[in-house]
């Protein structure tokens, strides 16, 4: 061969799990120095494929060639020996250890700590990933934590770096810096396999894209020559309908008022809310942006009633102090609530859809009479939800865990909306949901607001917030910025706020 061999070549990779074919005859070619996107909806088989490359899973059939040679990757250590590094979406770091200690734990031959710290400093300097090896991980931002994972890979001098949804936890500015690092690595000959479903960033970053659908390769393209819309349609295989944002109607009376809400927690790794104030009016959608871990979980708990707040007046629903009320009482005041975790909070995995309809429906729907469950009504309520929200399932008897993420989320959102709430609080409405379901969910939220309810959306997905919200505010380190009308702000401005640049000078004291 006259030109250099491919870095990695996959031929006919097939992997089967009970009841599903996760990868079906997948071919993939990665060249040295290219940034290659792996695109696909949830369940398309992206994760399975990269786990096979990284040696976490083994293919049932197919060949792997590395630098032109047939190879077998027995486990992640074997992958690292070949020069394959991977940065996972969920970090595996110990909060109470330092950066250097964490990196040392992840290396196959760590060596003594001092030279390691020096190498960490050197590598992070060279790739523009500023990182202090002596800092404890719990003091780092999410973006910095990701740098720890990247530096850990870079220390092994990788020839192929796999990045799994790296920007889902980053602000737009942090993402831009990450892209610079990745471009520099690619220029040095390192191949980057980049997994994402954010189409704009793939168009900005990647040279080639391979699209997976239903476990198969359905196409490859140069993403710079495609539009986000054409990429999305390749991913889902049909034409995409995006909800239009209608001009906002008259904003009505405040349905939710939060006044000077502060929380304290015994858990040193939770984020306390500090003097959070905002209101949501009838007919509008307020979006709260922010990188995960800046107080979203605490705010959700304080709003749902899962955590009570000391001053009842700091959370008012329909003008009534509600801070001392539990979830059931708040529901009776008109609140409905969609938590961020679908399985395990919003739904009980092992129970049927009728039983899951009862889970939150008992408060506002006539499903319980004198202590007895009216199973017939729970069933017809579940069937109403399934019908109205096009939930794909084999019926109300299906266990919640048998539904795909998007269908379960449609069911949960439907369950809340059909209770005709006057106020709906939603966390991460379309996280990990396929594009078709996401569009349906967005439409339902907009329709609910237009019908006169107040809707609060807490999300890390800026694109989503710009589609949905009438106003956007940002949560950072437990503080909430002023909200601004969506059409008077930009992704850049919100991104700066997500990085903590509020208008007023930030005060450094933590309490």
């Amino acid at each position: 061969m006259s030109f250099p061999p491919h870095r990695l070549e996959l031929r006919g990779i097939t992997k089967r799990f009970p009841g599903c074919l996760a990868n079906d005859q997948v071919d993939l070619v990665l060249r040295p120095g290219e940034i290659h996107a792996l695109l696909g909806e949830n369940g398309a088989g992206k994760s399975t494929l990269v786990k096979i490359i990284y040696g976490v899973l083994h293919a049932d059939a197919g060949q792997i060639r590395w630098n032109g040679h047939d190879t077998h990757i027995p486990d992640p250590a074997g992958a690292r020996r070949l020069g394959i590094g991977m940065v996972f979406q969920h970090f595996s770091l110990f909060d109470t250890l330092t950066v250097a200690e964490n990196i040392s734990l992840g290396l196959d031959q760590p060596g003594p700590m001092d030279p390691l710290s020096a190498r960490i400093a050197e590598v992070s300097e060279r790739y523009g990933l500023s990182l202090d090896p002596r800092r404890h991980v719990h003091t780092l931002s999410v973006g910095e934590r990701q740098r720890v994972e990247i530096v850990r890979c870079l220390l092994q001098d990788p020839k192929l770096l796999i990045m799994d949804e790296p920007t889902s936890v980053l602000t737009p500015q942090e993402a831009t810096r990450l892209f610079e690092t990745l471009r520099r690595l690619a220029a040095e000959g390192c191949t980057i396999l980049y997994i994402s479903h954010k189409l704009e960033e793939i168009r900005a970053l990647c040279d080639t894209a391979t699209v997976l659908r239903g476990g198969r390769v359905v196409g490859s393209c140069d993403p710079r020559k495609e539009t986000a819309r054409s990429l999305a349609e390749m991913m889902i295989g049909t034409e995409l309908s995006t909800p239009e944002r209608l001009p906002q109607g008259e904003a009505g009376a405040p349905k939710l008022q939060v006044r000077h809400l502060s929380t304290t927690s015994d858990n040193p790794f939770s984020t306390n809310l500090k003097d959070v104030s905002f209101e949501v009016r009838a007919g509008e959608i307020l979006g709260i942006a922010g990188v995960a871990g800046n107080g979203q979980a605490e705010l959700m708990a304080a709003l749902s009633g899962e955590a009570l707040v000391p001053d009842p007046a700091s959370v008012a629903i329909e003008g009534r102090p509600a801070g001392h009320l539990g979830p059931r009482e708040r529901r009776l005041l008109g609140l409905a609530f969609v938590p961020e975790e679908r399985l395990g909070r919003g739904a009980v995995p092992e129970l049927s859809l009728s039983e899951n309809a009862l889970l939150s429906g008992y408060a506002r729907e006539p499903l319980v009479r004198s202590g007895l469950v009216h199973f017939g009504r729970a069933r017809s309520y579940a069937e109403r939800i399934i019908g109205a929200f096009n939930v794909v399932t084999h019926g109300h008897r299906a266990e919640a865990r048998s539904l795909s993420g998007g269908n379960l989320q449609k069911f949960i959102i439907g369950r809340e909306i059909l209770q005709k709430p006057r106020l709906l609080v939603v966390g991460q409405p379309t996280w990990g949901v396929d594009a078709g379901a996401a569009a349906a969910i967005h439409r339902a939220l907009i329709d609910l607001a237009r019908s006169g309810a107040a809707v609060l959306v807490i999300s890390q997905d800026l694109d989503e917030l710009f589609v949905l919200s009438d106003r956007i505010a940002v949560l950072f380190h437990g503080r909430l910025s002023e909200s601004r009308p969506t059409h008077h702000t930009s992704v850049e401005e919100i991104g700066l706020l997500m990085g903590g640049l509020f208008n007023h000078p930030p005060d450094e004291d933590e309490e």
């Binding site: 009970p18 599903c20 074919l21 049932d60 239903g214 979830p327 009980v348 007895l372 795909s404």
Partner: protein, 363 residues
């Protein structure tokens, strides 16, 4: 190349949930057959003596019901708690307390009883058991102390309390210092249900408990809350279910049922107070609860099965001269096979080498 492999099922098999207890019984019988054969007994005859002969007389059937009664009463209460992740290991102590409080009334009103005494004893027995279970409930709700440890330790406290009472206040004044009470008078003894047996009113209570336990779990909103809390506590928090209330409720309920079981023993087959009221019914009930899949009807069947292992063990000792340990061996095999076959709920057995199967693509 393996000839036999386990393959994960896509979802848990409901059929196997019900089939594995039967499979475990079959495997136990098969192993028993081999065991007896290896020991030089006629296995058919031995198994007949163990499992069939006790059931061939009215009296034997009656004994089966008498032994199953406290097991079922305790296990119904425990299972409801277990469903909610409330691990009450203290049924033995709660049973003892029920005997102490209910039986104490029989002694306190000795010679001055009436029709009202027995109902009062029943209420007192249930209250005693519930009160004993209230201690771990309070410690769990107030201090987050593990009810597994506190309820277990209280078993020993209850036993010592009983011993103290039997050597002191409860002792028969005319009993030559033996640690036994006076025999209860007729007003303080549960009426027999079937002539020629020792089956007493307590067995009816056990059947009622089975029905009520089923109704609670299958039909009421409390039962639904118990299920959700046990499966996914965070979802229960989201729904607004009060977990502390459920902890109190399940512990008090299982305590009351265990207390009723204890009262049923002293006011039933025993007929007096003595220091050995229970041969470990409260502990065996834990096995019964799991063998019965925490389902009331399953528990009823499992209660009879465990009762049969007690009675069959005794019969085998008498008929074949086998050691007392034979009861434990059979109970142990049963549990072992149940746990082993439970793997079939999530996995299926495949014979032969791996082969490719065409399935549907990922959703």
């Amino acid at each position: 190349m393996t000839l036999l492999r386990l393959e994960a099922r896509g979802e848990a098999s409901r059929a196997m949930v019900y089939a594995t207890p039967l499979l475990a019984v079959a495997l136990t019988l098969a192993s028993g057959f081999l065991l007896f054969w290896a020991m030089g007994f006629d296995p058919v005859k031995a198994l007949h003596a163990f499992f069939i002969a006790p059931l061939m007389s009215l009296r034997g059937l009656g004994e089966l019901a008498v032994k199953a009664t406290p097991l079922v009463l305790c296990a119904i209460g425990l299972a409801i708690g277990f469903r909610a992740n409330v691990w009450n290991i203290g049924a033995e102590g709660q049973l003892t307390l029920g005997a102490i409080t209910g039986g104490g009334l029989a002694l306190a009103f000795y010679g001055e009883g009436g029709w009202w005494l027995l109902p009062l004893m029943i209420v007192a027995g249930m209250a005693g058991g519930a009160l004993w279970a209230a201690i771990p409930a309070f410690l769990r709700v107030r201090f987050n102390a593990s009810e597994i440890l506190t309820s277990l330790m209280l078993n020993y406290v209850a036993l010592h309390l009983l011993n103290y009472l039997m050597h002191g206040p409860y002792r028969d004044p005319d009993g030559f210092a033996f640690p036994e009470s006076r025999l209860f008078e007729a007003d303080a003894v549960l009426p027999l249900l079937v002539a020629g047996t020792r089956v007493h009113l307590g067995s009816l209570f056990a059947l009622l408990a089975v029905a009520a336990g089923w109704f609670l779990m299958a039909r009421t909103f409390i039962g639904f809350q118990i299920k959700v809390i046990g499966l996914t506590p965070t979802a229960a928090g989201y729904a607004g279910f009060n977990q502390k209330k459920i902890i109190w409720m399940t512990l008090l309920l299982s305590g009351a049922l265990a207390g009723l079981a204890g009262l049923g023993e002293v006011a039933g087959p025993i007929g007096q107070m003595n220091p050995t009221i229970s041969p470990g019914y409260g502990y065996t009930a834990i096995i019964v609860a799991f063998l019965g899949r925490l389902h009331p009807v399953g528990i009823l069947l499992a209660g009879f099965l465990m009762a049969l292992s007690f009675i069959g063990g005794e019969a085998a000792q008498i008929a074949l001269g086998l050691p007392k340990a034979i009861t434990g061996v059979f109970q142990g095999m049963l549990l072992f096979f149940l746990l082993a076959t439970d793997v079939l709920i999530r996995y299926r057995l495949r014979f032969g080498a791996k082969r490719a199967v065409v399935g549907r693509a990922a959703a």
